[in-house]
Symmetry: C2
Subunit: 301 residues, 2 copies
Amino acid sequence: MTATKKLIECVPNFSEGRDPTKIEKIVQPFRGKEGVKLLDYQRDQNHNRMVVTVVGEPQALRQSLVEAVGIAVEQIDMTKHEGQHPRMGAVDVVPFIPIRNVTMAEAVAFSKAVAREIAERYNLPIFLYEASASTPARQNLAVVRKGQFEGMPEKLKQLEWKPDFGPDHVHPTAGVTAVGARMPLVAFNVNLGTDNLEIANQIALKVRHISGGLRFCKGIGVELKDRGIVQVSMNMTDYTKTALYRALELVRIEARRYGVNVVGSEIVGLVPMEALIDTAVYYMGIENFSINQVLEARLME
Amino acid sequence: MTATKKLIECVPNFSEGRDPTKIEKIVQPFRGKEGVKLLDYQRDQNHNRMVVTVVGEPQALRQSLVEAVGIAVEQIDMTKHEGQHPRMGAVDVVPFIPIRNVTMAEAVAFSKAVAREIAERYNLPIFLYEASASTPARQNLAVVRKGQFEGMPEKLKQLEWKPDFGPDHVHPTAGVTAVGARMPLVAFNVNLGTDNLEIANQIALKVRHISGGLRFCKGIGVELKDRGIVQVSMNMTDYTKTALYRALELVRIEARRYGVNVVGSEIVGLVPMEALIDTAVYYMGIENFSINQVLEARLME
Protein backbone atom coordinates (compact mmCIF):
# COMPACT_ATOMS: atom_id res chain seq x y z
CA MET A 1 0.00 0.00 0.00
CA THR A 2 1.94 3.02 -1.17
CA ALA A 3 -0.96 5.27 -2.08
CA THR A 4 -0.95 8.36 0.10
CA LYS A 5 -3.66 10.63 -1.15
CA LYS A 6 -3.21 14.14 0.22
CA LEU A 7 -6.35 15.91 1.40
CA ILE A 8 -6.79 19.57 2.27
CA GLU A 9 -9.97 21.22 3.51
CA CYS A 10 -10.87 24.75 2.49
CA VAL A 11 -13.54 26.91 4.13
CA PRO A 12 -13.72 30.06 1.99
CA ASN A 13 -16.04 32.84 3.14
CA PHE A 14 -17.71 34.86 0.38
CA SER A 15 -19.46 38.18 0.96
CA GLU A 16 -22.74 37.15 -0.65
CA GLY A 17 -25.51 35.55 1.39
CA ARG A 18 -28.65 36.77 -0.33
CA ASP A 19 -28.72 36.34 -4.10
CA PRO A 20 -29.25 32.61 -4.88
CA THR A 21 -28.15 33.05 -8.49
CA LYS A 22 -24.80 34.53 -7.51
CA ILE A 23 -24.37 31.96 -4.74
CA GLU A 24 -24.89 29.05 -7.11
CA LYS A 25 -22.45 30.55 -9.63
CA ILE A 26 -19.75 30.86 -6.97
CA VAL A 27 -20.27 27.33 -5.66
CA GLN A 28 -20.40 25.76 -9.13
CA PRO A 29 -16.62 25.16 -9.54
CA PHE A 30 -16.68 22.87 -6.48
CA ARG A 31 -19.32 20.56 -7.94
CA GLY A 32 -18.74 17.32 -9.83
CA LYS A 33 -14.96 17.70 -10.00
CA GLU A 34 -12.71 14.69 -9.73
CA GLY A 35 -10.69 14.98 -6.50
CA VAL A 36 -12.90 17.69 -4.95
CA LYS A 37 -15.84 17.17 -2.59
CA LEU A 38 -18.23 19.98 -1.68
CA LEU A 39 -19.34 19.09 1.86
CA ASP A 40 -21.48 22.08 2.67
CA TYR A 41 -22.33 25.69 1.92
CA GLN A 42 -24.31 27.86 4.24
CA ARG A 43 -25.49 31.34 3.49
CA ASP A 44 -26.61 33.82 6.09
CA GLN A 45 -28.90 36.60 4.98
CA ASN A 46 -28.22 38.81 7.99
CA HIS A 47 -24.49 38.40 7.63
CA ASN A 48 -24.85 38.60 3.84
CA ARG A 49 -22.17 35.98 3.71
CA MET A 50 -21.65 32.39 2.56
CA VAL A 51 -19.35 29.80 4.12
CA VAL A 52 -18.32 26.93 1.84
CA THR A 53 -16.78 23.70 3.15
CA VAL A 54 -14.88 21.70 0.59
CA VAL A 55 -12.23 18.97 0.77
CA GLY A 56 -9.96 17.91 -2.02
CA GLU A 57 -6.65 16.80 -3.33
CA PRO A 58 -4.31 19.79 -3.54
CA GLN A 59 -4.21 20.42 -7.31
CA ALA A 60 -7.92 19.82 -7.90
CA LEU A 61 -8.84 21.92 -4.88
CA ARG A 62 -6.61 24.73 -6.07
CA GLN A 63 -8.17 24.80 -9.53
CA SER A 64 -11.70 24.85 -8.17
CA LEU A 65 -10.89 27.54 -5.65
CA VAL A 66 -9.13 29.80 -8.15
CA GLU A 67 -12.14 29.50 -10.44
CA ALA A 68 -14.62 30.25 -7.63
CA VAL A 69 -12.60 33.29 -6.52
CA GLY A 70 -12.70 34.64 -10.07
CA ILE A 71 -16.49 34.29 -10.18
CA ALA A 72 -16.89 35.93 -6.75
CA VAL A 73 -14.68 38.87 -7.75
CA GLU A 74 -16.82 39.31 -10.85
CA GLN A 75 -20.19 38.89 -9.10
CA ILE A 76 -19.74 40.71 -5.80
CA ASP A 77 -19.49 44.47 -5.55
CA MET A 78 -18.26 45.39 -2.09
CA THR A 79 -19.08 49.07 -2.58
CA LYS A 80 -22.72 47.96 -2.32
CA HIS A 81 -22.31 45.26 0.33
CA GLU A 82 -23.91 45.49 3.72
CA GLY A 83 -24.29 42.81 6.39
CA GLN A 84 -23.71 42.21 10.07
CA HIS A 85 -20.53 40.17 9.83
CA PRO A 86 -17.16 41.98 9.63
CA ARG A 87 -15.72 41.72 6.10
CA MET A 88 -13.01 43.28 4.01
CA GLY A 89 -13.45 41.65 0.61
CA ALA A 90 -15.67 39.78 -1.83
CA VAL A 91 -13.63 36.69 -1.00
CA ASP A 92 -13.22 37.63 2.60
CA VAL A 93 -11.07 34.83 3.93
CA VAL A 94 -9.71 31.53 2.58
CA PRO A 95 -8.45 29.11 5.26
CA PHE A 96 -6.75 25.87 4.27
CA ILE A 97 -6.73 22.99 6.73
CA PRO A 98 -4.47 19.93 6.47
CA ILE A 99 -6.64 16.81 6.69
CA ARG A 100 -4.71 13.76 5.58
CA ASN A 101 -1.08 13.08 4.65
CA VAL A 102 -0.40 16.82 4.65
CA THR A 103 1.80 18.59 7.21
CA MET A 104 1.07 22.10 8.41
CA ALA A 105 4.26 23.23 6.61
CA GLU A 106 2.87 21.81 3.36
CA ALA A 107 -0.49 23.47 3.96
CA VAL A 108 1.30 26.81 4.51
CA ALA A 109 3.29 26.42 1.29
CA PHE A 110 0.10 25.48 -0.54
CA SER A 111 -1.79 28.48 0.84
CA LYS A 112 0.98 30.82 -0.32
CA ALA A 113 1.00 29.36 -3.82
CA VAL A 114 -2.78 29.76 -4.09
CA ALA A 115 -2.58 33.28 -2.63
CA ARG A 116 0.01 34.29 -5.22
CA GLU A 117 -2.05 32.87 -8.06
CA ILE A 118 -5.29 34.63 -7.15
CA ALA A 119 -3.42 37.87 -6.41
CA GLU A 120 -1.83 37.89 -9.86
CA ARG A 121 -4.77 36.59 -11.81
CA TYR A 122 -7.42 38.87 -10.31
CA ASN A 123 -5.27 41.79 -9.17
CA LEU A 124 -6.33 41.17 -5.55
CA PRO A 125 -4.29 42.34 -2.56
CA ILE A 126 -3.77 39.38 -0.18
CA PHE A 127 -2.83 39.19 3.46
CA LEU A 128 -1.44 35.88 4.66
CA TYR A 129 -2.79 35.02 8.13
CA GLU A 130 -2.72 32.31 10.82
CA ALA A 131 0.09 29.79 10.29
CA SER A 132 0.91 31.42 6.93
CA ALA A 133 1.32 34.94 8.37
CA SER A 134 4.47 36.82 7.39
CA THR A 135 4.57 38.61 10.75
CA PRO A 136 3.04 37.77 14.17
CA ALA A 137 0.86 40.91 13.86
CA ARG A 138 -0.93 39.29 10.91
CA GLN A 139 -1.73 35.95 12.52
CA ASN A 140 -5.08 37.01 13.94
CA LEU A 141 -7.78 37.49 11.31
CA ALA A 142 -9.67 40.01 13.46
CA VAL A 143 -6.60 42.26 13.50
CA VAL A 144 -6.00 41.87 9.76
CA ARG A 145 -9.63 42.65 8.98
CA LYS A 146 -9.92 45.59 11.38
CA GLY A 147 -11.27 48.62 9.55
CA GLN A 148 -13.24 46.35 7.20
CA PHE A 149 -13.76 47.02 3.49
CA GLU A 150 -14.41 50.72 4.00
CA GLY A 151 -11.23 51.23 6.04
CA MET A 152 -8.88 49.22 3.82
CA PRO A 153 -7.73 52.04 1.49
CA GLU A 154 -6.34 53.95 4.50
CA LYS A 155 -4.96 50.79 6.14
CA LEU A 156 -3.03 49.72 3.05
CA LYS A 157 -1.26 53.07 2.93
CA GLN A 158 0.53 52.13 6.15
CA LEU A 159 3.88 50.47 5.58
CA GLU A 160 3.17 47.65 8.06
CA TRP A 161 0.02 46.78 6.12
CA LYS A 162 1.54 46.32 2.70
CA PRO A 163 -0.16 43.17 1.31
CA ASP A 164 1.84 39.95 1.03
CA PHE A 165 0.79 39.42 -2.59
CA GLY A 166 -0.91 41.51 -5.26
CA PRO A 167 -1.16 45.27 -5.62
CA ASP A 168 -0.58 47.52 -2.62
CA HIS A 169 -3.99 49.12 -3.09
CA VAL A 170 -7.52 47.81 -2.61
CA HIS A 171 -9.35 46.10 -5.48
CA PRO A 172 -12.09 48.64 -6.28
CA THR A 173 -15.02 46.21 -5.99
CA ALA A 174 -13.51 43.08 -4.39
CA GLY A 175 -11.49 44.69 -1.59
CA VAL A 176 -8.88 42.59 0.16
CA THR A 177 -8.60 38.84 0.87
CA ALA A 178 -6.97 36.93 3.72
CA VAL A 179 -5.46 33.51 2.90
CA GLY A 180 -3.81 31.14 5.34
CA ALA A 181 -3.38 27.67 6.75
CA ARG A 182 -4.71 26.62 10.12
CA MET A 183 -5.60 23.49 12.08
CA PRO A 184 -9.21 22.27 12.04
CA LEU A 185 -11.38 24.07 14.59
CA VAL A 186 -13.62 21.98 16.80
CA ALA A 187 -16.56 23.82 18.38
CA PHE A 188 -16.95 22.02 21.71
CA ASN A 189 -19.40 23.14 24.40
CA VAL A 190 -19.73 21.76 27.92
CA ASN A 191 -23.11 22.12 29.63
CA LEU A 192 -23.35 22.87 33.34
CA GLY A 193 -26.15 22.05 35.77
CA THR A 194 -26.79 25.67 36.70
CA ASP A 195 -28.41 28.76 35.21
CA ASN A 196 -25.69 31.02 36.60
CA LEU A 197 -23.87 32.57 33.63
CA GLU A 198 -21.20 33.99 35.92
CA ILE A 199 -20.09 30.45 36.81
CA ALA A 200 -19.71 29.51 33.12
CA ASN A 201 -17.73 32.71 32.53
CA GLN A 202 -15.46 32.06 35.49
CA ILE A 203 -14.77 28.53 34.32
CA ALA A 204 -14.11 29.70 30.76
CA LEU A 205 -11.49 32.09 32.17
CA LYS A 206 -9.63 29.20 33.78
CA VAL A 207 -9.77 26.87 30.80
CA ARG A 208 -9.01 29.16 27.88
CA HIS A 209 -5.53 30.02 26.71
CA ILE A 210 -5.65 33.80 26.85
CA SER A 211 -6.33 33.94 30.58
CA GLY A 212 -4.01 31.14 31.70
CA GLY A 213 -5.63 27.92 30.48
CA LEU A 214 -5.00 25.39 27.75
CA ARG A 215 -2.81 26.47 24.85
CA PHE A 216 -5.25 25.70 22.00
CA CYS A 217 -8.55 26.56 23.61
CA LYS A 218 -10.72 29.67 23.36
CA GLY A 219 -13.80 29.94 25.53
CA ILE A 220 -16.69 32.01 26.83
CA GLY A 221 -19.73 31.44 28.98
CA VAL A 222 -23.07 31.19 27.17
CA GLU A 223 -26.64 31.00 28.45
CA LEU A 224 -29.01 28.33 27.07
CA LYS A 225 -32.16 30.15 28.10
CA ASP A 226 -34.64 27.56 26.79
CA ARG A 227 -33.01 24.83 28.86
CA GLY A 228 -32.35 26.97 31.93
CA ILE A 229 -28.65 26.08 31.94
CA VAL A 230 -25.32 27.63 30.95
CA GLN A 231 -22.40 26.26 29.01
CA VAL A 232 -18.70 26.83 28.56
CA SER A 233 -18.53 27.35 24.80
CA MET A 234 -15.09 26.52 23.44
CA ASN A 235 -13.20 26.61 20.19
CA MET A 236 -10.47 23.98 20.19
CA THR A 237 -7.90 25.40 17.78
CA ASP A 238 -5.55 22.40 17.66
CA TYR A 239 -7.06 19.17 18.99
CA THR A 240 -3.83 17.29 18.24
CA LYS A 241 -2.12 19.30 20.99
CA THR A 242 -5.01 20.26 23.27
CA ALA A 243 -7.27 17.20 23.41
CA LEU A 244 -11.01 17.57 23.87
CA TYR A 245 -11.08 15.34 26.94
CA ARG A 246 -8.54 17.57 28.68
CA ALA A 247 -10.76 20.62 28.23
CA LEU A 248 -13.78 18.64 29.45
CA GLU A 249 -12.01 17.34 32.54
CA LEU A 250 -10.66 20.81 33.38
CA VAL A 251 -14.17 22.26 33.14
CA ARG A 252 -15.37 19.47 35.44
CA ILE A 253 -12.62 20.19 37.96
CA GLU A 254 -13.32 23.94 37.99
CA ALA A 255 -17.07 23.35 38.25
CA ARG A 256 -16.57 21.46 41.54
CA ARG A 257 -15.60 24.74 43.17
CA TYR A 258 -19.22 25.82 42.69
CA GLY A 259 -20.79 22.47 43.49
CA VAL A 260 -21.91 22.34 39.86
CA ASN A 261 -21.97 19.22 37.68
CA VAL A 262 -21.20 18.77 34.03
CA VAL A 263 -24.53 17.63 32.56
CA GLY A 264 -23.51 17.04 28.98
CA SER A 265 -21.60 18.45 26.05
CA GLU A 266 -21.99 19.15 22.36
CA ILE A 267 -19.96 19.35 19.23
CA VAL A 268 -21.17 21.89 16.69
CA GLY A 269 -20.51 21.16 13.04
CA LEU A 270 -17.77 18.93 11.69
CA VAL A 271 -15.08 17.18 13.72
CA PRO A 272 -12.16 15.09 12.47
CA MET A 273 -12.46 11.48 13.62
CA GLU A 274 -9.06 11.61 15.29
CA ALA A 275 -10.29 14.21 17.80
CA LEU A 276 -12.89 11.73 19.06
CA ILE A 277 -10.78 8.60 18.71
CA ASP A 278 -8.07 10.26 20.78
CA THR A 279 -10.69 10.85 23.45
CA ALA A 280 -11.95 7.24 23.35
CA VAL A 281 -8.38 5.98 23.64
CA TYR A 282 -7.88 8.16 26.74
CA TYR A 283 -11.05 7.13 28.54
CA MET A 284 -10.62 3.44 27.76
CA GLY A 285 -6.89 3.50 28.55
CA ILE A 286 -6.09 1.77 25.26
CA GLU A 287 -2.37 1.03 25.07
CA ASN A 288 -0.23 1.39 21.93
CA PHE A 289 -3.14 2.35 19.72
CA SER A 290 -2.38 3.52 16.20
CA ILE A 291 -4.74 5.48 13.96
CA ASN A 292 -3.82 2.94 11.28
CA GLN A 293 -5.94 0.43 13.20
CA VAL A 294 -9.01 2.45 12.28
CA LEU A 295 -10.63 0.92 9.24
CA GLU A 296 -11.68 4.28 7.79
CA ALA A 297 -8.16 5.67 8.14
CA ARG A 298 -6.93 2.74 6.07
CA LEU A 299 -9.63 3.26 3.47
CA MET A 300 -8.54 6.85 3.00
CA GLU A 301 -4.86 6.05 2.51
CA MET B 1 -24.79 15.22 -1.88
CA THR B 2 -26.59 12.12 -3.08
CA ALA B 3 -23.60 9.86 -3.60
CA THR B 4 -23.88 6.81 -1.37
CA LYS B 5 -21.03 4.51 -2.16
CA LYS B 6 -21.62 1.04 -0.74
CA LEU B 7 -18.66 -0.63 0.93
CA ILE B 8 -18.28 -4.24 2.02
CA GLU B 9 -15.29 -5.78 3.74
CA CYS B 10 -14.20 -9.33 3.02
CA VAL B 11 -11.74 -11.37 5.10
CA PRO B 12 -11.23 -14.59 3.14
CA ASN B 13 -9.03 -17.27 4.72
CA PHE B 14 -6.98 -19.37 2.31
CA SER B 15 -5.27 -22.63 3.28
CA GLU B 16 -1.82 -21.61 2.08
CA GLY B 17 0.63 -19.86 4.40
CA ARG B 18 3.99 -21.08 3.18
CA ASP B 19 4.55 -20.80 -0.57
CA PRO B 20 5.13 -17.11 -1.45
CA THR B 21 4.53 -17.73 -5.16
CA LYS B 22 1.10 -19.24 -4.57
CA ILE B 23 0.26 -16.56 -2.00
CA GLU B 24 1.06 -13.75 -4.41
CA LYS B 25 -1.00 -15.40 -7.15
CA ILE B 26 -4.02 -15.66 -4.87
CA VAL B 27 -3.74 -12.05 -3.68
CA GLN B 28 -3.17 -10.63 -7.16
CA PRO B 29 -6.88 -10.15 -8.09
CA PHE B 30 -7.25 -7.72 -5.16
CA ARG B 31 -4.48 -5.42 -6.36
CA GLY B 32 -4.83 -2.28 -8.47
CA LYS B 33 -8.55 -2.75 -9.13
CA GLU B 34 -10.88 0.23 -9.29
CA GLY B 35 -13.29 0.01 -6.36
CA VAL B 36 -11.28 -2.56 -4.40
CA LYS B 37 -8.70 -1.90 -1.71
CA LEU B 38 -6.41 -4.61 -0.35
CA LEU B 39 -5.82 -3.56 3.27
CA ASP B 40 -3.74 -6.45 4.49
CA TYR B 41 -2.76 -10.07 4.02
CA GLN B 42 -1.07 -12.09 6.68
CA ARG B 43 0.24 -15.56 6.27
CA ASP B 44 1.05 -17.90 9.11
CA GLN B 45 3.51 -20.68 8.45
CA ASN B 46 2.45 -22.78 11.44
CA HIS B 47 -1.18 -22.46 10.56
CA ASN B 48 -0.31 -22.81 6.87
CA ARG B 49 -3.02 -20.25 6.27
CA MET B 50 -3.41 -16.73 4.88
CA VAL B 51 -5.94 -14.13 6.00
CA VAL B 52 -6.69 -11.38 3.47
CA THR B 53 -8.46 -8.15 4.42
CA VAL B 54 -10.02 -6.28 1.53
CA VAL B 55 -12.70 -3.61 1.22
CA GLY B 56 -14.59 -2.71 -1.88
CA GLU B 57 -17.72 -1.72 -3.69
CA PRO B 58 -19.95 -4.78 -4.08
CA GLN B 59 -19.53 -5.55 -7.78
CA ALA B 60 -15.79 -4.91 -7.89
CA LEU B 61 -15.24 -6.87 -4.68
CA ARG B 62 -17.27 -9.77 -6.04
CA GLN B 63 -15.26 -9.98 -9.26
CA SER B 64 -11.93 -9.88 -7.42
CA LEU B 65 -13.03 -12.48 -4.92
CA VAL B 66 -14.40 -14.88 -7.52
CA GLU B 67 -11.12 -14.60 -9.40
CA ALA B 68 -9.03 -15.19 -6.25
CA VAL B 69 -11.14 -18.21 -5.27
CA GLY B 70 -10.53 -19.69 -8.73
CA ILE B 71 -6.78 -19.29 -8.33
CA ALA B 72 -6.82 -20.76 -4.82
CA VAL B 73 -8.82 -23.79 -5.97
CA GLU B 74 -6.28 -24.30 -8.72
CA GLN B 75 -3.17 -23.74 -6.57
CA ILE B 76 -4.03 -25.43 -3.28
CA ASP B 77 -4.26 -29.20 -2.87
CA MET B 78 -5.94 -29.98 0.42
CA THR B 79 -4.99 -33.66 0.23
CA LYS B 80 -1.43 -32.47 0.93
CA HIS B 81 -2.26 -29.66 3.36
CA GLU B 82 -1.12 -29.71 6.95
CA GLY B 83 -1.17 -26.92 9.51
CA GLN B 84 -2.22 -26.16 13.07
CA HIS B 85 -5.38 -24.19 12.30
CA PRO B 86 -8.65 -26.09 11.72
CA ARG B 87 -9.60 -25.99 8.03
CA MET B 88 -12.00 -27.73 5.66
CA GLY B 89 -11.13 -26.23 2.29
CA ALA B 90 -8.62 -24.42 0.08
CA VAL B 91 -10.81 -21.34 0.47
CA ASP B 92 -11.68 -22.13 4.03
CA VAL B 93 -14.03 -19.33 4.93
CA VAL B 94 -15.26 -16.13 3.25
CA PRO B 95 -16.91 -13.64 5.63
CA PHE B 96 -18.52 -10.47 4.27
CA ILE B 97 -18.90 -7.48 6.57
CA PRO B 98 -21.15 -4.47 5.85
CA ILE B 99 -19.05 -1.31 6.24
CA ARG B 100 -20.85 1.66 4.74
CA ASN B 101 -24.35 2.23 3.31
CA VAL B 102 -24.97 -1.53 3.39
CA THR B 103 -27.46 -3.25 5.70
CA MET B 104 -26.87 -6.68 7.13
CA ALA B 105 -29.75 -7.95 4.97
CA GLU B 106 -27.96 -6.63 1.88
CA ALA B 107 -24.70 -8.21 2.99
CA VAL B 108 -26.49 -11.54 3.47
CA ALA B 109 -28.02 -11.34 -0.02
CA PHE B 110 -24.64 -10.41 -1.44
CA SER B 111 -22.91 -13.33 0.33
CA LYS B 112 -25.46 -15.76 -1.09
CA ALA B 113 -25.02 -14.46 -4.63
CA VAL B 114 -21.24 -14.80 -4.36
CA ALA B 115 -21.58 -18.26 -2.79
CA ARG B 116 -23.78 -19.41 -5.63
CA GLU B 117 -21.39 -18.07 -8.24
CA ILE B 118 -18.25 -19.75 -6.82
CA ALA B 119 -20.16 -22.98 -6.20
CA GLU B 120 -21.27 -23.17 -9.82
CA ARG B 121 -18.11 -21.86 -11.41
CA TYR B 122 -15.65 -24.05 -9.47
CA ASN B 123 -17.88 -26.96 -8.49
CA LEU B 124 -17.34 -26.17 -4.81
CA PRO B 125 -19.75 -27.25 -2.05
CA ILE B 126 -20.64 -24.23 0.08
CA PHE B 127 -22.05 -23.89 3.56
CA LEU B 128 -23.66 -20.57 4.41
CA TYR B 129 -22.81 -19.53 7.99
CA GLU B 130 -23.27 -16.69 10.51
CA ALA B 131 -26.04 -14.26 9.47
CA SER B 132 -26.37 -16.06 6.11
CA ALA B 133 -26.90 -19.51 7.65
CA SER B 134 -29.86 -21.52 6.33
CA THR B 135 -30.39 -23.16 9.74
CA PRO B 136 -29.35 -22.15 13.28
CA ALA B 137 -27.10 -25.22 13.43
CA ARG B 138 -24.96 -23.70 10.67
CA GLN B 139 -24.43 -20.28 12.24
CA ASN B 140 -21.30 -21.20 14.12
CA LEU B 141 -18.25 -21.74 11.91
CA ALA B 142 -16.62 -24.13 14.39
CA VAL B 143 -19.64 -26.44 14.14
CA VAL B 144 -19.72 -26.22 10.33
CA ARG B 145 -16.00 -26.94 10.11
CA LYS B 146 -16.01 -29.78 12.65
CA GLY B 147 -14.36 -32.86 11.17
CA GLN B 148 -12.14 -30.65 9.00
CA PHE B 149 -11.12 -31.46 5.42
CA GLU B 150 -10.47 -35.11 6.21
CA GLY B 151 -13.88 -35.62 7.80
CA MET B 152 -15.96 -33.75 5.20
CA PRO B 153 -16.74 -36.69 2.87
CA GLU B 154 -18.47 -38.51 5.76
CA LYS B 155 -20.11 -35.30 7.03
CA LEU B 156 -21.64 -34.40 3.67
CA LYS B 157 -23.30 -37.79 3.47
CA GLN B 158 -25.53 -36.76 6.37
CA LEU B 159 -28.82 -35.21 5.27
CA GLU B 160 -28.49 -32.28 7.70
CA TRP B 161 -25.11 -31.42 6.17
CA LYS B 162 -26.17 -31.12 2.55
CA PRO B 163 -24.34 -28.02 1.25
CA ASP B 164 -26.33 -24.84 0.55
CA PHE B 165 -24.81 -24.47 -2.92
CA GLY B 166 -22.72 -26.62 -5.22
CA PRO B 167 -22.39 -30.40 -5.36
CA ASP B 168 -23.33 -32.54 -2.36
CA HIS B 169 -19.87 -34.05 -2.31
CA VAL B 170 -16.46 -32.64 -1.41
CA HIS B 171 -14.29 -31.01 -4.08
CA PRO B 172 -11.41 -33.55 -4.38
CA THR B 173 -8.59 -31.04 -3.83
CA ALA B 174 -10.36 -27.86 -2.60
CA GLY B 175 -12.71 -29.40 -0.02
CA VAL B 176 -15.56 -27.28 1.27
CA THR B 177 -16.00 -23.53 1.75
CA ALA B 178 -18.04 -21.51 4.26
CA VAL B 179 -19.47 -18.18 3.08
CA GLY B 180 -21.48 -15.74 5.16
CA ALA B 181 -22.15 -12.22 6.33
CA ARG B 182 -21.32 -11.00 9.82
CA MET B 183 -20.74 -7.78 11.71
CA PRO B 184 -17.17 -6.50 12.12
CA LEU B 185 -15.38 -8.18 15.01
CA VAL B 186 -13.47 -5.98 17.42
CA ALA B 187 -10.78 -7.73 19.44
CA PHE B 188 -10.82 -5.80 22.71
CA ASN B 189 -8.76 -6.81 25.74
CA VAL B 190 -8.92 -5.27 29.21
CA ASN B 191 -5.80 -5.54 31.39
CA LEU B 192 -6.07 -6.14 35.13
CA GLY B 193 -3.63 -5.20 37.87
CA THR B 194 -3.10 -8.78 39.05
CA ASP B 195 -1.29 -11.92 37.91
CA ASN B 196 -4.18 -14.14 39.01
CA LEU B 197 -5.59 -15.80 35.89
CA GLU B 198 -8.55 -17.16 37.84
CA ILE B 199 -9.75 -13.59 38.44
CA ALA B 200 -9.64 -12.80 34.70
CA ASN B 201 -11.51 -16.04 33.97
CA GLN B 202 -14.16 -15.28 36.58
CA ILE B 203 -14.69 -11.79 35.17
CA ALA B 204 -14.87 -13.14 31.60
CA LEU B 205 -17.64 -15.48 32.75
CA LYS B 206 -19.70 -12.52 33.97
CA VAL B 207 -19.18 -10.32 30.95
CA ARG B 208 -19.51 -12.73 28.05
CA HIS B 209 -22.80 -13.68 26.46
CA ILE B 210 -22.70 -17.43 26.78
CA SER B 211 -22.55 -17.44 30.56
CA GLY B 212 -24.99 -14.60 31.25
CA GLY B 213 -23.24 -11.41 30.12
CA LEU B 214 -23.48 -9.01 27.22
CA ARG B 215 -25.26 -10.22 24.09
CA PHE B 216 -22.45 -9.53 21.57
CA CYS B 217 -19.40 -10.33 23.67
CA LYS B 218 -17.21 -13.42 23.83
CA GLY B 219 -14.46 -13.57 26.40
CA ILE B 220 -11.76 -15.58 28.15
CA GLY B 221 -9.04 -14.91 30.70
CA VAL B 222 -5.50 -14.69 29.32
CA GLU B 223 -2.13 -14.44 31.07
CA LEU B 224 0.39 -11.82 29.90
CA LYS B 225 3.39 -13.56 31.43
CA ASP B 226 6.01 -11.04 30.36
CA ARG B 227 4.11 -8.23 32.10
CA GLY B 228 3.03 -10.25 35.09
CA ILE B 229 -0.63 -9.37 34.59
CA VAL B 230 -3.77 -10.98 33.22
CA GLN B 231 -6.41 -9.70 30.85
CA VAL B 232 -10.02 -10.30 29.93
CA SER B 233 -9.67 -10.98 26.22
CA MET B 234 -12.91 -10.24 24.37
CA ASN B 235 -14.34 -10.47 20.89
CA MET B 236 -17.04 -7.87 20.42
CA THR B 237 -19.25 -9.40 17.75
CA ASP B 238 -21.59 -6.44 17.20
CA TYR B 239 -20.28 -3.14 18.57
CA THR B 240 -23.39 -1.33 17.31
CA LYS B 241 -25.44 -3.23 19.89
CA THR B 242 -22.90 -4.06 22.58
CA ALA B 243 -20.67 -1.01 22.89
CA LEU B 244 -17.02 -1.31 23.86
CA TYR B 245 -17.37 1.05 26.81
CA ARG B 246 -20.13 -1.13 28.29
CA ALA B 247 -17.86 -4.18 28.27
CA LEU B 248 -15.03 -2.13 29.79
CA GLU B 249 -17.20 -0.72 32.58
CA LEU B 250 -18.65 -4.16 33.36
CA VAL B 251 -15.14 -5.60 33.67
CA ARG B 252 -14.27 -2.70 35.98
CA ILE B 253 -17.32 -3.34 38.14
CA GLU B 254 -16.64 -7.06 38.41
CA ALA B 255 -12.95 -6.45 39.17
CA ARG B 256 -13.91 -4.43 42.25
CA ARG B 257 -15.07 -7.65 43.89
CA TYR B 258 -11.42 -8.73 43.93
CA GLY B 259 -9.98 -5.33 44.80
CA VAL B 260 -8.37 -5.35 41.36
CA ASN B 261 -8.03 -2.32 39.09
CA VAL B 262 -8.28 -2.04 35.34
CA VAL B 263 -4.78 -0.93 34.30
CA GLY B 264 -5.31 -0.50 30.56
CA SER B 265 -6.80 -2.06 27.49
CA GLU B 266 -5.92 -2.88 23.93
CA ILE B 267 -7.53 -3.22 20.55
CA VAL B 268 -5.98 -5.84 18.31
CA GLY B 269 -6.16 -5.27 14.57
CA LEU B 270 -8.69 -3.11 12.79
CA VAL B 271 -11.62 -1.30 14.36
CA PRO B 272 -14.37 0.71 12.63
CA MET B 273 -14.22 4.38 13.65
CA GLU B 274 -17.82 4.28 14.87
CA ALA B 275 -16.93 1.80 17.62
CA LEU B 276 -14.52 4.34 19.10
CA ILE B 277 -16.57 7.45 18.35
CA ASP B 278 -19.54 5.87 20.11
CA THR B 279 -17.28 5.39 23.11
CA ALA B 280 -16.02 8.99 23.04
CA VAL B 281 -19.59 10.25 22.79
CA TYR B 282 -20.51 8.21 25.87
CA TYR B 283 -17.61 9.32 28.05
CA MET B 284 -17.93 12.97 27.06
CA GLY B 285 -21.71 12.93 27.33
CA ILE B 286 -22.04 14.54 23.89
CA GLU B 287 -25.70 15.28 23.18
CA ASN B 288 -27.40 14.80 19.80
CA PHE B 289 -24.23 13.74 18.05
CA SER B 290 -24.52 12.42 14.50
CA ILE B 291 -21.91 10.38 12.69
CA ASN B 292 -22.43 12.81 9.82
CA GLN B 293 -20.58 15.40 11.89
CA VAL B 294 -17.43 13.33 11.48
CA LEU B 295 -15.41 14.73 8.61
CA GLU B 296 -14.19 11.32 7.47
CA ALA B 297 -17.74 9.94 7.39
CA ARG B 298 -18.66 12.79 5.04
CA LEU B 299 -15.65 12.16 2.85
CA MET B 300 -16.69 8.55 2.42
CA GLU B 301 -20.27 9.28 1.40
